[in-house]
Amino acid sequence: MKLTDIMAGTNVKITDLSTMNDLVRRRLNDFGIMEGSVISLRKLLPFSGPCTIEAKGQWIAIRRKEANCIQVEAV
């Protein structure tokens, strides 16, 4: 399922990032966010705005388009 489908605050594990824009994916890697990482969704901003995710104590904001590319599974 997509990250944007889950309930905010629950921990999930990333299974796939391959459909994501290359640059964004590399930047997320720098933050330690990659396949196998455990993250949670914090907030979805209105009108398909950015979402904020929490990963290893960091808060990162990315666009909805990219967030839709994050495939996750329950953990």
Partner: protein, 670 residues
């Protein structure tokens, strides 16, 4: 003289640390090939230099600006690396640390923000961590200066012999180790730290790749890279080489943290979370921001800025002017000289310097927003809107700075990684009503809209923003068609900025404005005064017979449809190209006004309130000032786009002023 390079992630308090460790600093031009300024400071013990490297998450750059650190490590040989690490974000920060340790220069780790870490329940045993890392680890709180003496002490040469002088070696599994050895043999002896080069190459560091291509056959390198990656994927199931390397490092770092980091239970939601719930709230986010900006303007004009300005004005036009006047009399200066100095120079420059208090307050508030962490939230909240017109949420920040002065605003666009987005931001930032325009507004609203000052000014600022958004949409769908965007923003915990950092930051921004006042406006003031003093018939003519009137009269008719077809307005606008504040200076000279109050009085005879508003709208939009045009040329590297920015602004200004004047007149306003 030893050189210490300061490197670390963004948002680690690096600037704060830099300020605490240096007694003085200067900008020595840009780093080669980019528009990032090189900042070099002198250590407080006066025995070395501290070079501030831009904040990065990894040595592998995603944009040219991020390549500065790698380029520095490739091209120069620092005596030592000082790595600022955020103690509350240890895992991520240590990834960069590993890369720096592999480089080979002695590394000192400044473990910053330990107080923040402690309050979050993170307890770090720095001695154990130092053992694991094989480098000195100094806990510091840059904000207060704690631990900084120790850091400076460690930069002295005698302390460096105690540490391992060989590059730190981490293991990456047999396959990669074989590949690294193979590549190392191909590198010439003087290539530098070979293992570091090999690892960076395999990680995909573009700059290292470029460097290696000069030393090793590029075709071989490509084959080698692809073959190694393929093998790696087959053997380990890794997605790609850089991710594999990263996960190897993660294991190593994990081992370190298990031995040196103790986490006690976190106590509920942090203050940052609670603030964010309000500030990034669905409904409240943007309104809160608007209120914040409104308060900013209130503070700048009404509450602090203007009263201070008035004091400065009284000083300049009173004691200073009189004092110089009598001095000139004493030395028997000619009437001409006296006139140039008192009316031309003091009148002109003085009329602008009085706005310095307002500008510094604006810059102070902007610096506060940056350092506190609120900027990142603004970029996030505004991103949807920006995305809608083809911009990046990060573009909002240069534009915010543009409200203070377009010049640093445009320079701040460098944080935008994608070239087309950056160009678009640069083109649109001049539409942000800068503080120079403020001096013109101040004059007119003070005269015509006394009871609604803040509101009228706000309307102009909003008009600028709206124009920018509309044009953004237009440009991004036509001439500046974009490529994929990179929007990944870290939202750091809120913090109260350190006073010293704020001051330095404000001063750096304000200095630009003051320098502008000194050079362009000074020179411009004298020239304008001269144009008003001389005419076709000779020296010391009355205003009506001067060159200024002649030039102004030629262009005046063009402005008749938008409400100010008189030569004074025309001449003033022309001089406004030098710097928008000069419009005020010019008017002061043209109307032969003895001071601001006098000028206020004079312009009521030449403008009606509506005409004044139309005039201000035109000033808001018409052309970027000379300094801004210069910066645009430098940042875009293109004359074409620079001319474009001047041209489109003129057109837009005219059209909108026409629309405003026309409709309001039709509606019966005055």
């Amino acid at each position: 003289m030893i050189t210490v390079a300061l490197a670390g992630n963004p948002n680690t308090g690096k600037t704060s640390l830099f300020n605490t460790l240096t007694s003085s600093y200067e900008y020595v031009g840009n780093w080669a090939g980019v528009t990032v300024e090189k900042k070099v400071g002198t250590l407080t013990n006066k025995q070395g230099q501290l070079i501030d490297l831009p904040g990065i998450y990894s040595l592998s750059p995603l944009s040219r600006d991020e390549g500065v650190t790698t380029s520095y490590l490739l091209d120069e040989s620092p005596s030592m690396l000082m790595n600022v690490v955020d103690a509350s974000q240890l895992e991520r920060n240590l990834h960069l640390t590993v890369q720096l340790l592999e480089y080979g220069a002695p590394v000192v780790v400044a473990l910053n923000m330990i107080d923040v870490a402690e309050s979050r329940g993170l307890h770090i045993d720095e001695r154990e961590l130092a053992n694991q890392l094989g480098a000195e680890v100094v806990p510091v709180i840059a904000r207060t200066g704690r631990g900084c003496d120790e850091l400076v002490r460690l930069t002295k040469p005698e302390h460096r012999t105690n540490r391992l002088l060989q590059p730190r070696r981490f293991e990456y599994g047999s396959l990669l180790e074989r590949a690294i050895s193979e590549l190392e043999t191909k590198l010439p002896a003087d290539a530098g730290p070979k293992r570091w080069l090999a690892l960076q190459f395999l990680e995909g560091n573009i700059l290292v790749l470029q460097k290696l291509r000069q030393l090793v056959d590029p075709a071989w390198l490509q084959l080698f890279y692809d073959a190694t990656e393929l093998q790696l994927k087959q053997q380990t199931g890794a997605k790609d080489m850089s991710q594999y390397i990263r996960s190897q490092r993660a294991e190593i770092i994990d081992g370190w943290l298990q031995r040196s980091l103790r986490e006690t239970h976190k106590t509920g939601r942090t203050l940052t979370e609670r603030i964010d719930d309000i500030v990034t709230n669905k409904f409240l986010g943007i309104p809160i921001f608007l209120v914040f900006m409104f308060l900013t303007f209130k503070l700048t004009f009404d509450w602090i800025g203007t009263p201070l300005s008035d004091e400065l004005d009284a000083l300049l036009n009173g004691p200073v002017k009189d004092g110089i006047g009598s001095l000139l009399d004493t030395v028997g200066a000619a009437a001409f000289i006296k006139s140039v100095i008192l009316e031309g120079i003091i009148g002109g420059v003085g009329g602008v310097l009085v706005f310095v208090p307002q500008i510094f307050i604006l810059f102070l508030i902007i610096s506060f927003i940056e350092d506190s962490g609120y900027m990142a939230r603004i970029a996030t909240v505004m991103d949807r809107l920006m995305e809608g017109v083809g911009l990046n949420g990060k573009a909002f920040i240069p534009m915010i700075i543009g409200f203070g002065c377009n010049v640093p605003g445009i320079m701040a666009a460098r944080t935008i990684e994608q070239p087309k987005e950056r160009l678009l931001t640069i083109l649109l930032t001049p539409l942000m009503s800068c503080s120079a325009r403020l001096s013109v507004y101040s004059l007119f609203v003070g005269t015509f809209f006394k009871s609604n000052q803040a509101l009228i000014v706000l309307s102009l600022y909003v008009l600028g923003v709206v124009a920018a958004l509309v044009l953004a949409k237009l440009f991004s769908s036509t001439i500046v068609k974009g490529e994929s965007s990179l929007f990944v923003i870290e939202l750091p915990p809120y913090r109260i900025p350190q006073w010293r950092t704020l001051m330095r930051s404000t001063w750096e921004k304000g200095k630009g404005f003051v320098r502008k006042a000194g050079t362009f406006i000074f020179g411009g003031s004298v020239v304008i005064w001269l144009l008003g003093y001389t005419g076709p018939s000779g020296w010391n003519v009355s205003m009506d017979e001067s060159f200024l009137k002649a030039i102004g009269s030629v262009i005046a008719p063009l402005f008749a449809p938008i409400g100010f077809g008189n030569w004074q307005a025309g001449a003033a606008l022309l001089t406004g190209f030098l710097a928008k504040e000069v419009v005020v200076s010019t008017m002061g000279i043209i109307y032969a006004a003895p001071d601001d109050a006098g000028l206020s009085g004079m312009i009521t005879q030449f403008f009606s309130p509506l005409q004044a508003y139309s005039f201000m709208v035109f000033i808001l939009l018409y052309v970027p000032c000379l300094a801004t045009v210069g910066v645009i040329r430098k940042e875009t590297g293109s004359s074409l786009w620079t001319w474009f920015s001047v041209g489109y602004a003129l057109v837009v200004a005219y059209v909108i002023a026409l629309a405003v004047y026309g409709t309001c007149k039709a509606l019966g306003f005055q």
